[in-house]
Amino acid sequence: MAGARQHIRFLLNGEEVTTGDVRPDETLLDYLRLRRTLSGTKEGCAEGDCGACTVLVGRLSDGELIYEGVNACIRFLASVDGCHVVTVEHLKRADGTLHPVQQAMVDHHGSQCGFCTPGFVMGLYALWMRKPTPSEQDIETALQGNLCRCTGYEPIVKAAKAISGYGAMKNEPLVAERAEVTSILKGWKDGSRVEIGDAGERFIIPGSLDDFADAYEANPDATIVAGSTDVGLWVTKFMREIAPVIFIGGLEELRQFGKSDGAITIGAGVSYTGAREILAAAMPAFGDLIDRIGGDQVRNMGTIGGNIANGSPIGDTPPPLIALGAELTLRKGSRRRTMPLEEFFIDYGKQDRQPGEFVESVTVPLPAKGAHFSAHKITKRRDEDITAALGAYYVELAGDGTVAAVRIAYGGMAATPKRARSAEAMLIGRPWTAENIEAAMDALSSDFTPISDMRASADYRMLVARNLLKRFFIETSGTKKPVTVKRYEAA
């Protein structure tokens, strides 16, 4: 395309980088370690689960510069076009003074083998910037994406609590550079498209949403990469060829929310972190669920659109979105169509999406007044674990106590995220009673035939699918007794 830029440009710590020498499947981590010998950032797993590779990426969000922790191992270099990449090497001052985050870690014996430590430092740095005096829950949530095998985390959490006591650092790098960085990044936002490489090494970074629509319609064989929390693994683990690639993570237009008529419209490029902000306010259960998707880094990268378009039977947002009656908007070129989200999922690996068509947004109706909504995820490990089974429930009760509307959807129970129609049939129009819930629980076995795998046995999946429905019922009864184990007291 005429006029397309043939290079990407970004800030790396204190340096402006302009380069056209980039392959679409080159990870940010490999770039840092192999080409820049910035070896403070480590590779622990190459799949976004351990956090040893955590770096910060600063980007403009509605004109404001925000820094987020990301996994450099599954983030593609090309996707940092227009961003500020900050690695652990950027923290220590020239005179050798450690950053408060680093000094707190040293003073609290927060490192043993030290391999995970730079990742923890960066994760805590990101937390410290957005919340200088975090609660224990804030700290633990921020560190869900960082594994440490030596310390047992106790000294790291103690260090995290102590950081603010070290005083605001003079010349804190990202504070000192803020205005300058913002201005540079703004200057780069010129709506231009980037197009680099031929054949197996070709990629496009569209300049706008319309440009993306055009580019994808013209290149329907392209791999769309938003957060790369899944596609990253296609490269690092399966060594798949992904070119041509269209990187859409930088499209602010896809990161928009809309609120109207009792519904929220979420742009496909909204990250889990972004979606949590708006969904948790209206539906606390949705917020709690999002807190258990990946770690902070993955939630900063992964998008709602990606979670849907990917079509995985164990994606965490489709079941609650289906239970809420969400509607999907797909776009191809300038043509849009909408459908109930549940209809998008046809079968394992098969969705109702045409070549060149992409997920543009999802519209979520807010629960009716007095309606109940909840979503529960079952995993081996509470946090940063992939779903074994997930139940999402929405019920509206009529004045006489009968069920006026009900939608029940599960993940991990079938080849797609799927509604429990038989169970719903046992409830609709009937009294919301333990007896009828028991019948609905029994009906789940005609809705689902789950499989056994490394995450759970079929028996366990069915049992918890039943019991989660029961938990939901008990929750709606307004009981004061605990209905499940909780790590944190409700805020």
Partner: protein, 780 residues
């Protein structure tokens, strides 16, 4: 650089023993400046290797077509078994049962069959995928359930411990229990994966940088595989990003292949497997099936205990012999058995060869023993803690172990009594019972469990260590020893010992990378022995130099030797004080040797495996933990509400480091017993080979309240280095309290009338299934 003397009038040096000295690399860790092998500058022309792994669990290699691999972009060479110039064997036991690369036959899914060497790591990985290997598959053995120790294949000789007449004891006991327990394995999940980098030298020499806990063994294995003498191979390691036993023998393969390729091609070669390959192709903690039977009286006093520990060893012996031995050595935990028999069955299976992992079989042995206690408690309707206390070893009697060693340093009763009081066990048990009576879905549980862990390598000859200390003419000290640093703080502890010995500030002591070129014939840094052995060896080296300095000063200043006294950063000679650095300068001018090789061997220990008798352990380390949990009886989900630990470290060299070891070991042990589940499918393929599927604890899994205290009222009764105790492994087993607290919570659904027999790992699924079973049995 000649630095001025530090604090010439100080009353205390900085960083001596018994101080909370920070980890020597702490600043480098937080800045990212600490260099791991993959961070080292790469030599020009360096190549990268990737292992080609078998895709079946058991079978003969019918054909191997690697032509597409060879022709892949960037590929320089493809190694197969026939490229191994020396012996195609890296079995650490000398049993010749573990090839560098498979030859003719594969024995587990993921066994290295070939190795691609390419210009980049990515090219090597991509090329690996192009192999076309056909196998004649054979049936595999994936589980030890149903195997017969008499008939089925073992990888090494089993062990039997026996004391007293077990048949008589069981036969005449008023009560008996009998059962079986499954105890899962564990992946090490060191954050830094396996890695080796080999640099070819002249004369066929090779230098290997290997992330290993056992540089001497890597040296020997590389030499064997290359067919050269050990003196041609130098192995060096500054630090590992975690080891936990997973780099005791498992580094050998990568080091050997890197060295073979480097020599063959005359270029530097690095091999760093992807995490999935690392987990698939390297050994783990052994999973066990434990058969147990006990006879006991009305009070719960054990009269006889009989155990069979069947272990999934994988396809080769590796360290399975000593691992299964150590399981037997810990079936008794802290309990005296009047009559006992414990037998091991180290089974061959078509899975990766299991290996060392923190505790080295001890945890599995202890978990089996603690199940026995639990069964007795349920059989008698008593609190398990009561049964535990009733059966503790005595001090002057009731103190002989199943291996006929007398326990001479027993403090378990005091440790448990203090913890029981400080954590308010009794009060909380009552409070929990009241809560459970009123809560239908959420149930809570509590358990207090002891640990007694034997310290020493059970192979007596490993209990030796060397060190090398140089004092340079400016008074600065270069310290080297055979121990390796994997995060446990060994380097800083040994530096503290040397600083203490010379009475100089610790920053005058430079800690240097472990290398076979400086200290030879070392043992693995394992069995919690690092500071016990290397601390003593370094102290010995420093004392030799000190003795020479004393003799020198005595002669030069004409004072008796007892008037030469090392004070902080200075030496008092008669009536005058001389700065340490100054004395060193004088000693050099006086031609005093300022370098020494130190040595230490643990005294007293001996072990006769054939007879199952001896004193395999120099001493024991003790501790206890009380855990409280809440479970959701609808889903099996749980949280660890509170843990209190009292652990004994003798006179700690460094309390901060020791507390770090205790907390870290506990959480790692908790992971083993809760969420860390290794799942193999019906074809013998490990399905949990990445952090996405294999779940080690997170910050949000640790106990909500976590109190850790050191029982520092007891010095080591043995003359260990400054009377300290080993701390690497013992606290790992404190986590058994979590398994029992979960079990206690499960038991509440059946009014504590039925033993939950909760196997490990107690995943939410296992917890829920146990709840369901108890509810069913209660209803029946």
């Amino acid at each position: 650089m000649n630095r001025p003397i530090q604090n010439p009038s100080a009353t205390k040096i900085s960083g001596g023993v018994a101080t909370d000295q920070q980890h020597d690399s702490a600043r480098k860790h937080v800045t990212g400046e600490a260099v791991y092998i993959d961070d080292m500058p790469e030599m020009a022309g360096m190549l990268h290797g990737c292992l080609g792994l078998s895709t079946v669990a058991h079978g003969a290699i019918r054909s191997m077509d690697l032509s597409d691999v060879e022709s892949a972009p960037g590929v320089v060479a493809v190694l197969t078994a026939s490229d191994v110039p020396g012996e195609n064997d890296i079995s650490p036991t000398g049993l010749h049962d573990e090839p560098v690369l498979a030859e003719g036959k594969v024995h587990f899914f993921g066994q290295p069959v070939f190795c691609v060497i390419a210009e980049t790591r990515e090219a090597a990985r991509r090329a690996c995928k192009r192999a076309r290997i056909e196998y004649d598959e054979e049936p595999g053995i994936f589980d030890v359930g149903g195997l017969d120790p008499e008939a089925d294949k073992l990888v090494t000789k089993p062990l039997k411990l026996e004391r007293g007449d077990i048949a008589l004891a069981l036969g005449s006991a008023p009560h008996r229990v009998k059962g079986q327990m499954r105890v899962g394995g564990q992946d090490h999940f060191y954050l830094e994966g396996q890695i080796a980098m080999a640099l070819p030298g002249e004369d066929g020499d090779v230098t290997v940088y290997s992330s290993t806990q056992h540089p001497s063994e890597v040296q020997h294995m590389v030499a064997h595989a290359l067919g050269v003498a050990s003196h041609a191979v130098t192995v060096e390691i500054r630090r590992m990003g975690g080891g936990f036993g997973g780099k005791e023998t498992q580094a050998n393969q990568f080091a050997a292949l890197a060295a073979i390729a480097a020599k063959k091609l005359g270029r530097a070669v690095k091999i760093r497997p992807d995490r999935d390959d690392d987990i698939t192709a390297t050994g783990k903690r052994h999973d066990f099936l434990v058969d147990y039977e006990a006879g006991f009286d009305d009070d719960g006093k054990i009269l006889g205990a009989d155990f069979l520990y069947a272990a999934r060893c994988g396809f080769s012996a590796d360290l399975s012999g000593p691992v299964t031995d150590r399981a037997l050595f810990h079936c008794d935990n802290a309990y005296w058995f009047p009559a006992v028999r414990a037998q091991s069955a180290p089974f061959y299976t078509n899975t990766v060869s299991n290996t060392a992992f923190r505790g080295f079989g001890g945890p599995q042995g202890m978990v089996g023993g603690e199940r026995l206690i639990e069964e007795i408690a349920f059989a008698l309707g008593k609190d398990p803690l009561e049964i535990r206390k009733r059966n503790f070893y005595g001090t002057d009697e009731r103190n002989v172990t199943p291996y006929h060693q007398t326990v001479e340093d027993n403090v378990i009763e005091r440790v448990v009594a203090e913890l029981e009081a400080s954590c308010d066990y009794a009060g909380r048990r009552r409070e929990i019972a009241a809560f459970n009576a009123n809560s239908e879905i959420v149930k809570r549980g509590i358990a207090l469990t002891p640990v007694k862990f034997g310290i020493s390598f059970t192979a007596t000859h490993f209990n030796q260590a060397g060190a090398l200390v140089h004092v340079y003419t400016d008074g600065s000290v270069h310290l080297n020893h055979g121990g390796t640093e994997m995060g446990q703080g060994l380097y800083v502890k040994v530096a503290q010992v040397v600083a203490e010995e010379f009475q100089i500030d610790i920053d005058r002591v430079k800690i240097t990378a472990t290398t076979t070129g400086k200290v030879p014939n070392t043992s693995a840094t394992a069995a919690s022995s690092g500071s016990d052995l290397n601390g003593m060896a370094a102290q010995n080296a420093a004392r030799q130099i000190k003795d020479r300095l004393i003799a020198f000063a005595s002669e030069k200043y004409e004072v008796p030797t007892e008037q030469v006294v090392f004070l902080p950063n200075r030496v008092r000679v008669g009536n005058q004080e001389i700065a340490f650095d100054e004395l060193i300068k004088q000693a050099y001018m006086g031609r005093v040797q300022l370098s020494a090789a130190g040595f230490y061997k643990t005294p007293e220990i001996h072990w006769d495996r054939e007879r199952g008798r001896g004193q395999p352990f120099y001493y024991f380390a003790y501790g206890a933990a009380c855990a409280e949990t809440s479970i959701d009886t609808l889903t099996g989900e749980y949280v660890i509400d509170r843990v209190d630990i009292l652990h004994e470290t003798g006179r700690s060299l460094n309390r901060a480091i020791d507390i770090g070891q205790i907390e870290g070991a506990f959480i790692q042990g908790m992971g083993w017993l809760t969420t860390e589940e290794l799942v193999w499918d019906e074809k013998g393929r490990l399905r949990t080979h990445a952090p996405s599927t294999y779940k080690i604890p997170l910050a949000s899994d640790r106990p909500k309240v976590f109190n850790v205290a050191l029982a520092d009222w007891a010095d080591n009764v043995k003359p260990t280095v400054h009377r300290s105790k080993a701390v690497g492994e013992p606290p790992f087993m404190l986590a058994i309290s979590v398994l029992h607290a979960l079990s206690d919570a499960v038991a509440s659904v059946a009014d504590h009338a039925i033993c939950p027999r909760l196997d490990a790992p107690a995943t939410p699924e296992r917890v829920l299934m146990a709840v369901e079973r108890l509810k069913r049995e209660m209803a029946a």
